[in-house]
């Protein structure tokens, strides 16, 4: 009887672990948009291959050692009246064997590790698309020096071309993490760190800051859009039309772009007549409420050190406030009215914008695509 109850207890554990593994089985990596286990880029694949190597060895060691432990628990269970067991103090041969075997297993992990360390640390020199990443409390700035473009919280990369990220921070330490294509690197205010990857699969994926950076670390997300080269080029061409007001050829460029795309992109510079008044009102509010002090509404040759995210194409982004809210008229208006209520501590103050004004501003901003 005593033996039976004793045997039932481990059974409880086994049942619990089985349930757990069932739960795990229901959660395959496909259900996680931010997963590291489905690499879609070369850098991420290096990390994933290494993980596979270590997991295989770890599982082997786990099964063997835990197996021996569980075996010992049942095999050597003492019964009342048992004589004193043999008083062994050790066994040199056995001890040498179980020192050497783990060392060999570790060597098997160390060799591919060192190779991968040097692979991942080599920075592409030619032919790569350089993007500057700047971490801010709590949003991401992306600059494309090749095209003189700046954008925020949504990074566009072409599939099939290596991207070289040169990264820094505007304030505290953040960590830029691209789980699907690369991995993460911390960014600092006083040094440049680098990361590179070649995206292999198109799509829009979430990413977020991985180093604790203050009150809103949890709301410092961004989106990465991996696009076919032609689509990416079109995006660049379109962004290059978003020049500061009064800059020459701005409207001409945008006209060309619309024609070539054949898309129904609403042009902020040529709004429909019925919306024209509202657009002009929004533009006025953007200056009157002080938004313009921190945010730029153009993407070309934006000076460094703007306090707020660039809004040149804010209407085209999926999320606002660094992954906090879906980009809808209502959410954007709410955000403009009450950023401190939605994302407490964010550097954007509550400016006392009335509800109608916030709607006007939201409509104005969402026209910037």
């Amino acid at each position: 009887m005593a033996l039976r109850t004793a045997a039932r207890r481990p059974l409880c554990l086994v049942t619990a672990l089985c349930l757990l593994s069932l739960v795990l089985a229901g959660c395959s990596p496909e259900h996680y948009p931010q997963t590291t286990l489905l690499p879609r880029g070369d850098f991420a694949r290096i990390a994933d291959d290494l993980l596979d190597t270590t997991v295989r060895w770890a599982l082997l060691v786990f099964v063997l050692v835990e197996g021996v432990l569980v075996y010992a628990i049942f095999r050597f269970r003492g019964k009342p009246g048992d004589p004193e067991p043999h008083q062994s103090h050790g066994n040199t041969t056995v001890e040498i064997v179980w020192t050497v075997i783990p060392a060999l297993i570790l060597a098997a992990i160390a060799v591919p590790t060192v190779r991968a360390i040097f692979q991942t640390n080599s920075f592409p020199k030619q032919g790569a698309l350089t993007i500057q990443v700047v971490g801010h409390q709590w949003w991401w700035e992306f600059r494309y020096p090749e095209y003189s473009l700046t954008t925020a919280n949504e990074i566009h990369v072409p599939v099939g071309r290596t991207v070289a990220l040169r990264m820094g921070s505007n304030d505290v330490i953040h960590s830029f993490w691209v789980p699907q294509f690369a991995a993460k690197r911390d960014v600092f205010a006083n040094r440049e760190t680098r990361l590179w990857f070649k995206a292999e699969v198109e799509g829009e994926y979430p990413g977020q800051c991985a180093e604790f950076c203050g009150i809103q670390h949890g709301r410092m997300g961004y989106r990465i859009r991996a696009q076919k080269p032609a689509e990416f080029d079109a995006w660049v061409a379109h962004m290059q039309t978003l020049k500061p007001k009064g800059a020459p050829t701005a409207s001409a460029d945008s006209g060309v772009h619309t024609a070539s795309q054949g898309a129904t992109v609403q042009q902020p510079t040529s709004p429909q007549a019925s919306q024209g008044n509202q657009y002009a009102a929004g533009e006025k509010l953007f200056t009157a409420k002080g938004c313009v002090a921190c945010h730029a509404l153009y993407a070309v040759n934006v000076p460094k050190g703007m306090i707020g995210p660039n809004l040149a194409n804010v209407g085209a982004r999926s999320y606002i406030a660094a992954g906090t809210l879906k980009n809808t008229d209502e959410n954007l208006a709410h955000w403009i009215r009450d950023p401190q209520g939605i994302k407490k501590g964010v550097l954007m103050p509550n400016l006392g914008v009335s509800e109608p004004d916030s709607k006007t501003l939201a409509a104005f901003l969402r026209a910037h695509k």
Partner: protein, 611 residues
């Protein structure tokens, strides 16, 4: 004259175990009472840290939750980590150092009994200082690792960081004083015949821990002083805009922080190495290998710190060095695990509560060790670091390891410390709740981390797939809490019962089981002589079963006088740091008063008759 008479009276009372009441606890210099003070304070902080963890788990149970505000969440995760490391696991280990080391080596007390009292009072005040921020709505909120330059005045203008910085500084003083004490105690006060290679393994692991404390704590002390200068006196050690370097903080912090990990786990290694042989009825397997693997782990522990910093882009050479040194640590750790299983192998296993926890320790620590090897590989770690995978890893090491080990020790030594047996049935209920709750809480975190959930986020949006497992983890954390509720009931019931523990309830191998439970104030009426490892087993083998030891009068045994000056000096230490906090309000006078109190306490302490 009057004081002398009083002193003599106290000494007499102490020698007969007649002391009781609050004053006797404040003035005590008895290592056993100080051990109980450490234990009860640490257990309180452990429960506090546990409640903090439950609040965090409630917040993370559902996506976009608003149960906690972001700043409250950040305060709670900072204080949960800091509390569990500095106010729970370290002082719970210190409880066993205090209570057990003198008993295990056959000594009457520690080398410096009043310094021991000082350590405790400084620790208590440090713990209160650290938590005082709650009462000012300014609990520390920058993470237990306090990465610069988030901790600079520019980005953390409030006093939150100051409570943390000075709290740790005070706790460091307590740790250093205690480390000196136990180092000297183990070197100098061993019973005749107890050579180094005959010391119980817990004493060996504790000894190595003291060395780690002595070498690691000065580094964090220096780092915290630099931080204090940055925050209070306008220097820029860690401030990039002033030419400083936030990476410097990371190096200093982890040169302390990684040995700290071994400070947290080595005492548990020692406890397990005591419990397993006793309940296997068989000596520890490979004693020498256990000693040297412990020494090797501690030595290597100073050469792996930058594996916490792979994502800072140190370059391929540094990455390679720290990856290989980290992997190397797995070898001596593996040796320990195999030797523990070797100890059980061929034994006659007695499954009492301490043994349950000890065996579970091995099983859980294996998992923590393997996930550690998984992120010793920098390119893989670049995905795992700062995700829940790491949270899973270190909870398997610190909870599955340290807490399971310390709990094994608590059940094992409880009868010796309090003279009362804990209930076996409740102990086993506690065990199963804890084992299942622990795994349900922390195992899914591996999966969440690899699937992209970062650490230290106060919430996560719906749609990233994190909902289900987080909910499961929250349920697990409450199972875990229920387990500790059962422990509380068990302790309470034992406390209400009369003393029922014999001197040697487990057929123990070490000297503490040769004296009554609980021991009398002088521990051993006569200094024991040691003729081999497992000194008590050796005695039983040569002399046959030992009779239940009688309580003796102890008249004529010299014991140090009780003293309140260590507590006064400790108050002085805390007052100095309160003074620094108030620098902007009352000028340097707070500091002056604190220093004066400290000097007064130390002066009176130094010239107090030793009895």
């Amino acid at each position: 004259m009057a004081t002398r008479v009083l002193d003599q009276h106290r000494a007499h009372a102490a020698a007969h175990g007649e002391t009781s009441g609050l004053w006797s606890w404040i003035t005590t210099v008895d290592h056993k009472r100080i051990g109980i003070l450490y234990g009860s304070t640490a257990f309180f902080f452990f429960l506090l840290g546990g409640v903090e963890a439950l609040l965090l788990r409630i917040q993370l149970g559902t996506p976009d939750n608003t149960f906690l505000s972001p700043e409250r969440y950040n305060q709670l995760f900072t204080m949960h980590g800091t509390t569990m490391i500095f106010l729970a696991i370290m002082p719970l280990s210190a409880m066993f150092f205090n209570y057990m080391i003198p008993l295990l080596i056959g000594a009457r007390d520690v080398a410096f009994p009043r310094l021991n009292a000082f350590s405790y009072w400084v620790f208590l005040l440090g713990g209160l200082f650290l938590n005082a921020g709650w009462f000012f709505g300014a609990a520390p909120d920058q993470g237990w690792f306090g990465y610069a330059n988030l901790t600079s005045r520019q980005f953390s203008p409030g006093p939150n960081v100051d409570f943390w910085m000075f709290g740790l500084q005070i706790l460091g003083i307590a740790s250093l004083a205690a480390a000196v004490n136990f180092f000297v105690t183990i070197i100098n006060l061993r019973a005749p015949g107890m050579t180094l290679m005959r010391m119980p393994m817990f004493v060996w692991m504790s000894f190595i821990t003291q060395v780690l404390l002595l070498l690691a704590f000065p580094v964090i002390t220096v780092a915290l002083i630099l931080l204090m200068f940055d925050r209070f006196f306008g220097t820029h050690f860690f401030v990039p805009s002033g030419g400083g370097d936030p990476i410097l903080w990371q190096h200093l912090f982890w040169i302390f922080g990684h040995p700290e990990v071994y400070i947290l786990i080595l005492p548990a290694f020692g406890i397990i190495s005591e419990v397993l042989p006793v309940f296997s009825r068989k000596p520890l397997f490979g004693y020498a290998a256990m000693v040297f693997s412990g020494v090797f782990i501690a030595f290597l522990g100073f050469g792996v710190w930058s594996h916490h910093m792979f994502s800072t882009a140190m370059g391929p050479i540094a990455d390679t060095f720290f990856a290989l040194s980290t992997m190397l640590i797995a070898v001596p750790t593996g040796v320990k695990i195999f030797n523990w299983i070797g100890t059980m192998w061929g034994g006659s296993l007695q499954f009492r509560t301490p043994m349950y926890f000890a065996v579970a320790f091995i099983a859980m620590f294996i998992i923590g060790g393997l996930s550690g090897v998984m992120h010793s590989s920098p390119p893989a770690d670049l995905q795992q670091t700062d995700t829940y995978f790491v949270v899973a890893h270190f909870h398997y090491v610190l909870f599955g390891g340290s807490i399971f080990g310390l709990t094994a020790g608590a059940y094992y030594w409880w009868p010796k410390m309090f003279g009362r047996m804990l209930d076996e049935r409740l102990g086993k209920i506690h065990f199963w709740l804890m084992l299942i709750g622990f795994n349900v809480t922390f195992f899914p975190m591996h999966w969440l981390g690899l699937n992209g959930m970062p650490r230290r986020v106060y919430t996560y949006p719906a749609g990233l797939g994190f909902e289900l497992l987080n909910q499961l983890e929250t349920v697990g954390s409450f199972l875990l809490a229920l387990g500790f509720l059962v422990l509380l009931i068990n302790m309470f019931q034992a406390w209400r019962r009369p003393r029922n523990a014999p001197a040697d309830p487990w057929n123990g191998a070490t000297l503490e089981w040769s004296i009554p439970s609980p021991p009398q104030e002088f521990n051993f009426p006569e200094t024991p002589e040691v003729h081999g490892r497992d000194a008590l087993w050796e005695m039983k083998r040569t002399r046959g079963p030992l009779p239940e030891p009688a309580r003796v009068s102890g008249a004529g045994i010299h014991l140090p006088n009780p003293s309140y000056w260590p507590a006064v000096a400790a108050l002085g230490v805390a007052a100095v740091f309160v003074g620094v906090m108030l620098l902007g309000h009352i000028g340097p006078w707070g500091i002056v008063a604190g220093v004066a109190l400290l000097f007064f306490g130390v002066y009176r302490w130094a010239f107090e008759p030793a009895g």
